[in-house]
Symmetry: D2
Subunit: 144 residues, 4 copies
């Protein structure tokens, strides 16, 4: 299977604020869209985890806003699974302009699996094959 390339996205008018650029809170939403799109591409759609009774919350999130994004722009978001452990996994992201020559934003997030009572779950224990699959898509960590 080919590596997931990027998630493409037009910027919506309602995502701008009175600075005439995308409000920074929307970036977390762009990243979520990207994660979900990538997981689906890799045959592990979020709905599958939901059907298993798990949710995947964000544990932490770091973002650096390098260039503002404006209405009318198309952005491309390159995600990467940086690391997978039995109970946590780590993503990194770069948001580019449409031509992919300008970096708009870089980000990192970490996540875990929780059961329906919001207790942590070891993916390795409850779904070892799925865990192995997840690990196989991980790429060695790079510094942001």
């Amino acid at each position: 299977m080919e590596k997931y390339s990027y998630y493409e996205r037009k910027v919506n008018y309602y995502e701008t604020d009175k600075m005439s650029v995308v409000h920074h809170s929307n970036y977390a939403r762009y990243l979520e869209e990207t994660r979900i799109d990538m997981l689906k591409y890799y045959g592990m759609p979020l709905e599958m985890f939901e059907d298993m009774g798990y949710v995947i919350p964000v544990l932490d999130l770091y973002g650096q806003f390098k260039e503002s994004i404006r209405f009318g722009e198309t952005i491309k978001i390159v995600p990467k699974i940086e690391k997978v452990t039995p109970v946590k996994f780590y993503f990194a992201y770069t948001i580019y302009d449409e031509t992919m020559t300008k970096v708009k934003h870089i980000a990192k997030s970490s996540h875990c699996f929780l059961d329906s009572n919001f207790n942590p779950v070891s993916l390795k224990k409850v779904a070892p094959e799925l865990y192995a699959k997840f690990v196989s898509f991980a790429e060695p960590e790079k510094e942001v």
Copy 2:
């Protein structure tokens, strides 16, 4: 019990768009805050309905945008329960500026009760006292 007067609200920066005014999609959120605040005031908090296993979706919503609202403004929202039937209830709202001399927005919404399977529920049947209470807060309908 005194009639609920109004819901007061500062406008947030992130609610503006590049027209430098509050994006129109946020008005539905202001109205929801107002409904929830009024229901709580009347001793029927949304959480109570949730604990009974019900959700209260919006059936329809009409809004007229008369004056734009800007960051830094405080708005006051006057809601009214216009009509209550066993299965539906109707709200009307006026959004004013802080001094309540200028009408910013008028709106109407209708709602129903659904059980956890999203089937309609007659409040009159499942909670007659609560229904009677609801009816007692209704005011005769006026034209918008």
Copy 3:
């Protein structure tokens, strides 16, 4: 030029609320995306109006929520320019499920053109050719 067909859209996770369906305030955003996409298709992108110094606010908005929309669904939104006058124009919309066999939502909105001081502008006066073009895309009004 062929009539604009529909705007297609995946539902995002962050658009759901604790009822597990899309929060109703997001529908206004879906409609805006649709308007903007249609205007672009017809060679009248919103950016063009912005470059002329105009903004296009919503005057009123009515929506009827017929079926809830869930995360993972793809929706298709069919817009229509119902009427165009020198100072106002009227849209109607139907939101369908992916197969276009189920109506999720119907809506209507009206809009005007404002100059940079937020004063109304007659499109017919300031841009007669653009106005004529706009009129040519209008379809006779139908009842919702």
Copy 4:
């Protein structure tokens, strides 16, 4: 002048997602509300900077999600100006539950001043008294 204490906030229904907790993208909004409230308290409202022709974008943002936040909760957010330089300033935040006994979220953000062309501005140069005031509210940095 007393140190700014905390920003209090009820959680809105529309801020929840289908995990039944506040969607993580809203935390950045809570922090913005807090910053704006604190700046106002210290006599430096955001509107004042806007009137001077400046905007104050976010440069980077880090957040750690320690406990989920639910509809109906009231949260209290304690902000701190950690450091001020002529061209950048740094905030830290702790989001608590209503009783301030449980930490929900910790965060850090950095910001700069841009003129209307989005070029960086030295506050020290363009408004030395305002800069001095800003510095006077800063507190020594602590590790998160």
